[in-house]
Structures are given as C-alpha cells and as structure tokens.
Assembly symmetry: none
C-alpha cells in the first residue's frame, strides 16, 4: 500500500497548469507500475503541503483522474488506483513518449542538427539521470 511521497516534480512557471502536470505524472506512474491497483494516492491535504500548492489544485487533478477512471474515490479513505488501471508493458510505455519525440524531431530540424549530433548529446544527458 502506497500512501505517501510520490516522485512528483512541479514546474509552477512552465505554463503547463499545475493540475495538468499532476494528472500526467500520476498517469505515467500508473502505467509504469510505480503505482498499482489498490494503492492509495497521498491525501489531498498531505500532497498540498508537500508540493506547496493549494489543496484545491490537488483536488482538481484528483477529480480529473477519477472522472477518467484512473482512480476511485473511497469514502473516508481517499483515492485508490482503480482496478482496471493496469501496468503497461515497455513498448506501450515508450509509446507514451511519442508526443515528446515529435517535438524533439521538429526542434532538431529547425536547429539544423543531424541525427548523430543529437543522439550523442541525448545519451550524455540520459546517462547522468537514468540507469
């Protein structure tokens, strides 16, 4: 049972609304199995304190996740990852990176970069953070 500090990172000034960032990040954590069916999300108030945002902002994100069937509201207990939210395989998870890849390709074209230059640089970047 998961009930506390998730690996959530907000960019309050990114233009992307905070509640949207939360939705997308939590969805990814469900897809990857870091959050499993039956786990509980942190409570609205707790997460609001941790992330230093207004509880209503958290609530808005949770509401969206509920209305899309990703989590279920359990009266008096909190928000539980829905049963039908299943762990997806690696290929399916990679697929979720597609929108990013499209942007990457477009920006590389406009910067006049070639494939090799880009990949070397990306490899360097990823090595610092991922294993």
């Amino acid at each position: 049972m998961q009930h506390s500090s998730l690996l959530l990172q907000l960019s309050p000034s990114s233009g992307e609304p905070i509640y949207r960032q939360l939705i997308e990040q939590i969805k990814r954590m469900i897809a990857s199995g870091q959050l499993n069916a039956g786990d509980y999300l942190p409570s609205v108030r707790q997460l609001a304190v941790e992330l230093e945002v207004n509880p209503m902002t958290i609530s808005k994100a949770y509401g969206f996740l509920e209305s899309h069937g990703d989590v279920s509201r359990i009266r008096g207990k909190g928000m539980m990852i829905a049963e039908l939210a299943h762990e997806e395989n690696v290929a399916a998870r990679l697929q979720k990176l597609s929108p990013l890849a499209e942007i990457l390709v477009q920006q590389c074209q406009q910067l006049g970069l070639n494939k090799q230059q880009t990949l070397e640089w990306l490899t360097h970047k990823l090595e610092k953070e991922l294993k």
Copy 2:
C-alpha cells in the same frame, strides 16, 4: 531572399499558444542558419493564410521577435532578419534542446524506463526523420 513558406508546424490544440510556437520555431531557424540576416519573413497576411491562423496572431509573434531584436521591421518591405542575429555553433544549438531533455528524463523516470530502452527507441524515431 527568403520570403515564403517556412517549415513551420503548428499544433493549435497543444495548449502552447500559437504565437509562442511561432516565436520559438522562427528563433530556432535563425539559430541554425536556415534563416539568415537579411532574409525576409513571410508577410503577416501570407503566413496567416498558409497556417490558417488569425493575422493578429502572426503579428503578435512578429512584434515579439522585433522587440527582442531578432528581426527588424522595414517600412514598406516587411520583417527582416536582424544583422546581429548570428548563426550559433552546434554546441550552442544543442544547448537549446536542454529544456526538452529535462522533460524527457522526468517522463522516463515516471514511466520506469531505463537509458538503453529509451535510446534505442529514440534512435529509431530520429532515423525516420533526420539524416
């Protein structure tokens, strides 16, 4: 010299405001040398028709570029790439991809993907579009 159809791709529904998409894309094309000092941008009206966007939106983007010194408004002729807008070297251009790389790393972590899986997939994606 350059006065017509640029390689601009808009995502009207992406949340990213259209005029902002234009600014960033044109800046990248200047940085990469696809647009050179002295070249003219397409006219507001022409670009508005091409991209099926309100002329005000184009105008707003051009105004932004002018106020940041990237282009100069030449009365009666249009918007010209400014003299001081210099072609940057490859390293500097790659640096412009950094924000994207940060998002990429974060999404990979949340999707539970490792470096190798991600790079193989990205290589595949880039090969289809870049040379």
Copy 3:
C-alpha cells in the same frame, strides 16, 4: 411483527448518501402504513448484510429516525416504530411527492416537452410497476 426484508432499494452511486436514502424510504413506508406502530425494523446487522452496506451507515440512519421520533430504541429488542408515527391520508402522502413534481416540471420545460407527451409516457411507466 415486521422484522425482516423491507422493500428497500439503494443507489450507492447516486450522490444521495446511503443513510439518507434509508431514512427517506423508511419514513415513506411508515406514512403509507407499510410499517405500523409496534413493528420492528430489521436489526442493524441484518440489514447491513442484506443491503451490503457498512453497519455504521444503517446505524446512522436509525439514529436519525430515533432522534426525530419516528422509531424508539427498545433495549435488547431493536428499533420499534413509534406510537406517534401515524398513518397519513392519501392527500398528505401525495403531498410528499411535491419536490419530485417540481423537478419533473423543470426538466420537462428544459427538454421542450409538453404536458400531453409527458403524461402519456409517465402513464406507460407507472403501469408497468404500480397497480
């Protein structure tokens, strides 16, 4: 005299809290004489099992009914329909449908339906269930 399965139908997902549904339904059954003074309500545990609801929820409803004088808590025996809970005449019972009628009228107006269409359809619906 009456001690078991009442004609209670719950809509757990209806927004209307469960304990409130219980209260209103039991009150109507008292008003109509389907539950008479001296009858006993099903035990909290029994009803909880039948309706697949948390016993606390039943208990809350019973507590409410007691505090409003509709039933009396008889130690060691259960909840008994109170003496002063009287059978109301038909007109009074129909009056209890008024809130529903108001909603019905409003929804018909917004759906652009006229009186005749609505009544024909309601007649059809009622015929299937009532005698």
Copy 4:
C-alpha cells in the same frame, strides 16, 4: 445567435452541487433544441452575475461541458454549442426523464399509492406549469 439569459433555475441548497445543476440543465436545453449548434452560452462573468454565484462555479460547469464535447471554447469569443450536439427527437428526450421516473415509482410504492391516484395528481401539477 443566443448569448444571454437562459431559463436556468438553481437550487443552491438542494445538495446537488450548483455546477452539476448547470451542466444537466444546459445539456437538456441542447437536447431540446433551445440551444443550437453555433449558439453561444452566456459568458462566465455574465452568468455569474445573473445567477449570483461565483464565476469559478460557472467556469467549472463550462469546463465539464467542454471536456464532454457538448460545447467548444472559442478563443476570445466564448463557449459555443458544438456542431455534433444535435437536437434529439421527442422520444429520446422523454428517455432522459427515466431516472426521475424510477424514483417516482419507488416513492409511490413506499407511500402505498396506486397508479390512478398518482396520475391524477401529476396531471394537476403539470397543468399548472406546462402547456
């Protein structure tokens, strides 16, 4: 083009959240053709003043309608009834009364009322308000 006072009636104390009441009522008005594709809803601020509720409450309702495809947000102009929102025939509209009819039947049963009594009374009620 519709841009002002709709026939909306709120029951602030009904338990049913205000934004939900708005959603359901507007949906019904679309179904009945009182709001047609291309019409604009009143602006958030205008409706907030008319109904004496907080603009955010209106905005919440509009957001839901948009996310369900009933209306489209037109930048700088407001919320427009979506093209695919079609006028439904009478039978389909009557069908939307079904949830109400089920509650009606249940309450009549529990009040020990018969079909004839109920219909006479409903006829009387409807005559006063509908034509």
